[in-house]
Amino acid sequence: MGNDAEMKKNTDRPAAGLDMGVEIAGVKWKNPITTASGTFTLRTMRCYEISRLGAVTTKGIATVPWAGNPTPRIAETYGGMLNAVGLQNIGMEAWIRDELPVLRAHEGLPVIANIVGRTTDEYAEVAARLSETDVDMLELNISCPNVKEGGIAFGTAVEGVFDTTAAVRKATRKPLIVKLSPNVTRIVDMAKAAADAGADALSLINTLLGMKIDVYRRRVVLANKTGGLSGPGIHPVAVRMVYEVRRAVGLPIIGMGGVMSGEDAAEMILAGADAVAVGTAALIRPDAPVRILEELEACMNKMGIASIRELKSALIE
């Protein structure tokens, strides 16, 4: 058995006095680590103390329950995984009734509701309904590659990004994060469209579109054929996109894509992210988000850096 050096328990304890706080679109997070949408459920509370996070991000929430795709929904790849969950969710009313109060019970933990729709109106409807609650931020997922309608269809054209963002912007005064797809020629154009339409922050990246074939069964592994590629293999693409968008748009960025360690999180922040979301890592190691937080602190100590603000401007160019 190899030894997963990156993920090994970090024994350096953070020095007292590190300033880990960030402010994303007016919302204070006690540290920059959140969960990546679709990899956090209420069950995550059995994996680690979620109140240690900077914020939690839910899976996509639609107007009504969605059944998602048939199985297999998951395929393993070299340095990553494919998923085609297809935004299965319990719908906004059930979420507001059953899940939001449970998350709200964690004091000082901002809740980000990720929202999805099949049409611009549906997106706006979810946003409007959630605006009646005390959820802290909304994350607009216009980048899911696993559904036929909605999702990526909106996120890969400048007009789609603009129109969806604008519609949701009209429906809510909550801080609005727009989550971008990496499956585009120029991510910067998408980021600008979101900014122009009134986004308060950006999340990037969602998954890359991929496919796996089981050679001996001669079949595509996923029932949905294609799926979203996530995990450490895509990290360099995510870093590049965060870097590009940071230099083109002034909005806060939540960086994600293959963050497996505190060093990966620091790399995202050096590239220009204000906060970092952990997805696949948390599926592979249940407490990855809080480990990564600890490792980030250890990494900052090793770098001699005392605050996230300082880290953000530490890249030498």
Partner: protein, 289 residues
């Protein structure tokens, strides 16, 4: 709980291999150090390869356990299990805490433990536990050619209660010679059930099953036939342990859903095999396709 130290229910940790012995041409018997030896039959653990090219968990049912150890019986079907087959005593292995809801304890006096292939290990665990609870357990297990765990079943529930279906007729004489007290039959588990069930008394019974999907579907059909009024109350209370490909194996990714019909409302929902299963009430399972 403000200041109380938080202890996660779901954890991944490193443990050690105690033994890893080959049972058949492609099935291995792995014992690992494991503090929480007390498990519910049907529960599983995730094994991790700790390799950057194989990040996802391999869920394996717990077949047996005791003070400080558990036993996992797995077939080599792909690269991951092939790598497991090369583990030696003392090697480190990453593993999760116990996951999932096991078989519910039988409310009836008789338990049928029905398993096929590498679906047999969790069913063995259920059989052993029910026998220890004083139930009469009948095991009906099926294999293509190479059975496993027959001595273990015989030890736990009595050899006279063990029936074994074999698909390859040519191996049966040798098996009969080797296990004289166990009854073998050519065919599958339903073949055997059809033979032995009529002979049984008409009382209600519990049936714990795990195996390939066609077998589980056949059992669903089989127990339905004992539901003459078609009111959903079969003579058998069937529980099925299911498999799905897993992203996390502990309820965080919605990767592993199966379709379950709500007995009250009739609505079919997709629910996680790792979080609400792997064991489900047999009549509620709506197989894909």
């Amino acid at each position: 709980m403000a200041d109380a130290p938080y202890r996660a229910d779901v954890r991944r940790f490193s443990t050690r291999v105690l033994s890893n012995t080959q049972l058949t041409s492609n099935i291995y018997d792995l014992r690992i150090e494991y503090a929480e030896g007390a498990f519910l039959p049907g529960q599983f653990v995730n094994l991790y390869l700790n390799r950057a090219d194989r990040l996802l968990p391999r869920p394996i049912s717990v077949a047996d356990g005791g003070e400080g150890w558990i036993r996992l019986i797995y077939a080599v079907v792909g690269k991951g299990t092939e790598i497991f087959s090369r583990l030696n005593p003392g090697d480190a292995l990453d593993v999760s805490t116990l996951i999932g809801n096991g078989f519910k304890p039988s409310p009836h006096g008789t338990v049928y433990a029905v398993g096929g292939g590498v679906g047999v290990p969790p069913v063995f665990a259920a059989a052993k536990k029910e026998a220890a609870r004083g139930k009469r357990v009948v095991a009906v297990v099926g294999f293509r050619a190479e059975p496993i765990l027959l001595d273990d079943f015989a030890g736990a529930i009595g050899a006279e209660n063990v029936y074994c279906a074999i698909e390859d007729a040519s191996v049966i004489p040798a098996l009969e010679a080797r296990y004289p007290e166990i009854r073998f039959a050519l065919g599958n588990v339903v073949t055997i059930l059809s033979q032995i069930i009529p002979a049984e008394a008409d009382e209600k019974a519990f049936m714990a099953a795990c195996g390939p999907t066609p077998m589980l579907k056949a059992l669903q059909e089989y127990v339905k036939a004992f539901d003459p009024e078609n009111d959903g109350r079969s003579r058998f209370e069937l529980q099925l342990s299911l498999e799905e490909r897993m992203g996390c194996g502990f309820g965080c990714c919605a990767g592993c859903v199966t379709q379950i019909r709500d007995p009250q409302t009739g609505t079919v929902r997709r629910v996680g095999v790792c979080s609400l299963g792997p064991v489900f009430a047999g009549e509620t399972v709506v197989f894909y396709g």
